[in-house]
Amino acid sequence: MSASVILVRMSDVTRILHQIETGDPSAAEKLLPLVYDELRKLAAANMAREAPGHSLQATSLVHEAYIRLVDVDQAQHWNSRGHFFGAAAQAMRRILVDAARQRKSEKRGGGWQRIPLEQVDALQNATPDELLILDEALQELANEDSLGARLVELRYFAGLSVEEAAGLLGISAATGYRHWSFARAWLHSQIAAAK
């Protein structure tokens, strides 16, 4: 099973991270699909491995993906982690949101399979509705407070602590907490209002 998981060669991601570090703007775009792929495969592989009913941890997957994809010896720098987790958070967000959409359309009788849904369901606690509202609200938030939105993304989808996320975004922990507390309150109020 594990052999099928590691389809992306480690060095690819490490190399891309290095390109980003050295200022190649196009490199970042290559990162997301690789990470996205890896996360999906990991989810599938983990589900196959685990006993039924075991709940997967989305953020664990992100970290596992990091360990798998990034040659830590070569990418020691905080920045490279930042790029990776930024991409991973986005990728996880997409995976979960896509699955939520899929789930909703399935209820209406349509839809096509991308990832078996039970695998994705296991990754989170939110309902598809909640997740879609969150996704939408996050986009709105990004218009007003892009820093806060990215922080939420890193925290919620990649499982970083507020302080780690703040570190990645290059802001102080205190500033990070301010953004987080506001974003959290705001998003929660949006979700509560939408229900």
Binding site: Q57, A58, T59, S60, H63, E64, I67, V72, Q76, W78, R81, Q124, N125, A126, E130, L131, L134, E140, N143, E144, D145, V152, R155, Y156, G159, S161, V162, E163, E164, G167, A173, A174, Y177, R178, S181, F182, R184, A185, W186, L187, H188, S189, Q190, I191, A192, A193, A194
Partner: protein
């Protein structure tokens, strides 16, 4: 219906944050004021504030790891001074840690007192935490120790966060306290002993701390004395049960704090099997930090390493010894470090080197079976160090481990295997490598002839090959030294003894030793034969023949011994052998041995002739170094010894005068002057010829050397032994205790100290030091110091002493009377053949007695 994004987003944010600065109760009034007349704005802010207070949103659930490392400044800290948490009224906030926030709180029922209330940050199953705590509660209640802060209670806040109620301790983390107060190393050690005792108390009540670190050991000054208090007992167990498991994927940067103090078994995967020795490890880390200012593993490295790497480091990497660690520091850092310990850098390093290194490293052993059994064992060893008593911890050298191994596996086969193993590891590989290097050189030589154009390149290669060969030769020397060390351990005889040629009891009745000696012998013989024609290794071969001769002496085969030593001399005398300090010294010693053999055979002429040859050889060294260098003092000393044997007292005294003529202000290798005074004093104390002994003059000379070189342990030792000889026992004790206080505890101090104390009638202390000297390599049967050249000298003292059989008997009786089982066992163990020094430096392999005596 979904509210639209308000136009005044920034305004809402600003009011939201302002409100958070105030107690929740004041929010309505504040909003009345801030949103005056703008109902929509107010509604928006209220929504946000409600959402903020409500801890159950998707973002809290969705994040699937508990956030108990939430650091300082978290605006989600809702509790405000004045609020009631259970029966506790919060006062000021006094600290924020990785795990939670600490408040001073007032308790009114059942007693009125101030307590510390620690609210754990959200994210864990409160019920489980409380249940786990309750399970330990009875045990915790049993703890009653002045250095332990009690934990009274646990509960949960309304929002479901667990809190702990503890004795209020107003103190500073121990490392910060020590640095701030500029406590000296010994003051730090004293504090540390208190901490260990506290932890031991908890262990006896069945409580393991699991999270010992500086911030959990607070120090305050009470009535002029320093009182450390360990806080948070029982908290880690209740809170951190799943720490390891949960952090596997998550923490890359933030886990710091815990893993630095985490024991290897805590850092393991799977079922966390933690016992009290895990706390011993953490105490070791704490001690390391108190002594060196940093943790054994670098904070930044751990911070930047992935979790698997962190775990690997904790489980596999050997941290550097404290003294080695501070040697790597930059000068500036080091001097800050030293000054915060009221010390200068060199003294700081010296003070760590040896015992403190061993103590720390023993506490930090990866395998908990090798650590101190308990926190109190650790405390006692530190206390022993403070009292200048011998410590239990031992330096983990290869030789030491080998010997330990030998001790555990007495069976002949095992010991033989060890000898073989050492040969293979040390020598076999080197030999093989050397053959390769030789081949490479030959090839290079051929090329030199064949291709003129490639000359330069070939020459470079040739040099490289030669260097490699030289390197191999060095390795061989080390291998020989290792074998020799082991050999000495087995034979239980001092090299100096053989140089001196004093009576050796044949050991042929002891079959296992004989066989062991024989196998060592075969090694040396093979080595000598194999190397005698190689110009680079022939000197080593000659030395090996000397060892062969000595082993035959041990085995009682005098003709074979003579044969081997003669072969050694033949190589030294061969015209193709380069004359050097080394070859002169070696052949001089070989002649001394030959002379002794002749003594035994009562060939007096041969003996005299050999001694004159020895004198020549030692004179050769002097001639090689005509410029009055201090290094040349050894041949004078050796010549004095040989003249003493020849009965030529006048000439012996003349050699000593020559020694004293050397400018005393030329420093020795360690930077101390007046080495020659020390050497002459030493000679006058230990001369085998009683007529040459002059303890009074020895005291004079040694006192000069000591006075010019404040506390130098070698000189102090000489002085101590001289004073003992001169009958000034009290002063001898003083000098020897000073010597012991300088450096490691060495048997050449401890044995005369024991003897002086004995003379003063302090039998108990005498016994203890005697025991220690035995552990460090004094053979109780002979008074010989094993593997240590200065054994020669002390031996002569103890020889007088041990010759009175009743002394031995008295010691045994003493041991029983004192009820020291260990003592008696130690005696017995030491009386068996394979018992030896635990001090690696006793095995200092330098072949001349003065240098070995120099060994720290």
């Amino acid at each position: 219906m979904k509210p639209t994004m308000p136009k005044s987003f920034a305004e809402i944010r600003s009011i939201f944050f302002d409100a958070l600065q105030q107690p929740q109760a004041d929010w309505p009034a504040y909003l009345d004021h801030a949103c005056a007349g703008n109902a929509e704005l107010r509604q928006q802010v209220e929504l946000l504030l409600n959402a903020h207070v409500d801890g159950t949103g998707i973002l809290d659930h969705g994040v699937d790891r508990p956030d108990f490392e939430l650091p300082a400044g978290d605006p989600r800290i809702l509790e405000k001074p004045g609020e009631l948490i259970g029966p506790y009224k919060l006062r000021e906030m006094v600290g924020e840690g990785g795990m939670g926030v600490v408040y001073v709180a007032e308790q009114t029922e059942p007693v009125r007192r101030k307590v510390a209330l620690k609210i754990i940050k959200p994210g864990m199953d409160t019920k489980e935490v409380v249940a786990r705590f309750e399970a330990e509660r009875q045990a915790l209640a049993l703890m009653n120790h002045p250095n332990i802060a009690r934990v009274f209670d646990v509960g949960a806040t309304e929002s479901g966060r667990p809190y702990f109620v503890m004795e209020l301790v107003r103190g500073v983390p121990i490392n910060e306290f020590c640095d701030h107060q500029r406590l000296s190393t010994s003051q730090r050690l004293e504090l540390f002993v208190d901490v260990c005792r506290a932890v031991q108390h908890a262990h006896q009540k069945g409580i393991i701390h699991r999270d010992l670190k500086p911030s959990n050991v607070l120090v305050s000054e009470i009535d002029g004395s320093l009182v450390p208090k360990v806080i948070d007992f029982g908290v880690a167990k209740a809170v951190n049960q799943k720490l390891v498991e949960q952090t596997v994927y998550t923490q890359f940067s933030q886990m710091i704090g815990t893993p630095l103090y985490m024991s290897p078994e805590q850092a393991g995967t799977g079922v966390v099997d933690v016992d009290t020795r895990s706390d011993v490890y953490s105490l070791g880390v704490l001690l390391y930090e108190l002594l060196t200012g940093s943790t054994p593993f670098d904070r930044d490295t751990m911070k930047n390493a992935g979790f698997d790497e962190v775990r690997r480091i904790i489980r596999e990497e050997e941290p550097s010894r404290p003294s080695a660690h501070i040697s790597t520091l930059q000068a500036e850092t080091l001097s800050t470090l030293a000054s915060s310990r009221r010390c200068d850098p060199r003294r700081l390093r010296d003070s760590l080197k040896g015992e403190l290194d061993w103590i720390v490293m023993k506490a930090l052993e990866k395998d908990r079976n090798r650590r101190y059994e308990s926190a109190s064992d650790l405390a006692e060893d530190v206390q022993r160090h403070l009292n200048n008593e011998p410590v239990e911890a031992c330096p983990p050298t290869v030789a030491y481990r080998l010997r330990k191994y030998v001790r555990r596996h007495r069976a002949l086969m095992a010991t033989t295997a060890i000898v073989a193993l050492t040969m293979v590891l040390g020598t076999g590989i080197s030999l093989w490598q050397m053959v390769e290097a030789q081949d490479a050189r030959k090839l290079a030589d051929q090329r030199l002839d064949q291709v003129e154009i490639e000359r330069n390149r070939a020459e470079i290669e040739r040099n490289r090959a030669l260097n490699a060969e030289m390197q191999m030769a060095t390795n061989l020397k080390w291998a020989l030294a290792a074998i020799e060390d082991l050999g000495l351990a087995i034979t239980g005889k001092s090299k100096a003894l053989l140089l001196r040629g004093v009576d050796v009891t044949p050991v042929s009745e002891d079959r296992s030793r004989t066989r062991l000696l024989t196998s060592t012998l075969r090694f040396y013989e093979a080595f000598a034969e194999h190397n005698k024609r190689n110009p680079i290794t022939r000197i080593e071969a000659a030395k090996a023949y000397r060892r062969v001769g000595r082993i035959y002496l041990e085995l009682g085969d005098l003709p074979a011994a003579k044969n081997a030593i003669s072969r050694s001399i033949a190589i030294f005398e061969d015209h193709s052998t380069t004359r050097s300090e080394d070859t002169f010294n070696e052949s001089g010693r070989a002649y001394v041995e030959l002379a002794w053999l002749a003594d035994r055979a009562e060939h007096m002429d041969d003996a005299r002739q050999a001694r004159h040859k020895a004198l020549e050889a030692f004179e050769g060294v002097i001639q090689l170094m005509p410029n009055n260098q201090l290094r040349s003092r050894e041949p004078y000393y050796n010549r004095a010894l040989v003249y003493a044997d020849l009965g030529n007292l006048e000439q012996a005294r003349f050699e000593l005068d020559r020694l004293l003529d050397i400018d005393p202000n030329i420093p020795n290798e360690k930077g101390h002057t007046h080495q020659s005074y020390n050497d002459v004093a030493w000679f006058l104390v230990i001369s085998p010829n009683p007529e040459l002994r002059d303890p009074a003059r020895a005291v004079e000379l040694a006192e000069i050397a000591v006075a010019r070189n404040p506390p130098y342990r070698n000189y102090l030792n000489t002085l101590g032994v001289a004073l003992y000889r001169a009958g000034h026992y009290q002063r001898a004790v003083h000098a020897l205790e000073r010597s012991i206080g300088q450096k490691k505890v060495l048997p050449d101090d401890t044995l005369p100290l024991a003897m002086s104390l004995w003379k003063l009638g302090d039998k108990e202390r005498a016994g203890r030091w005697y025991l220690r000297s035995i552990r460090d390599g004094i053979d109780p049967r002979t008074g010989l110091m094993m593997g240590h050249d200065s054994g020669l000298d002390v031996r002569l003292e103890v020889h007088d002493w041990n010759s009175e059989d009743e002394v031995w008997t008295l010691f045994m009786q003493e041991a029983q009377a004192l009820g020291i089982d260990e003592y008696a066992r130690e005696m017995q163990r030491s009386a068996s053949p394979i018992s030896t020094s635990d001090d690696p430096d006793n095995g200092a392999m330098e072949m001349n007695n003065l240098s070995a005596e120099e060994a720290e």
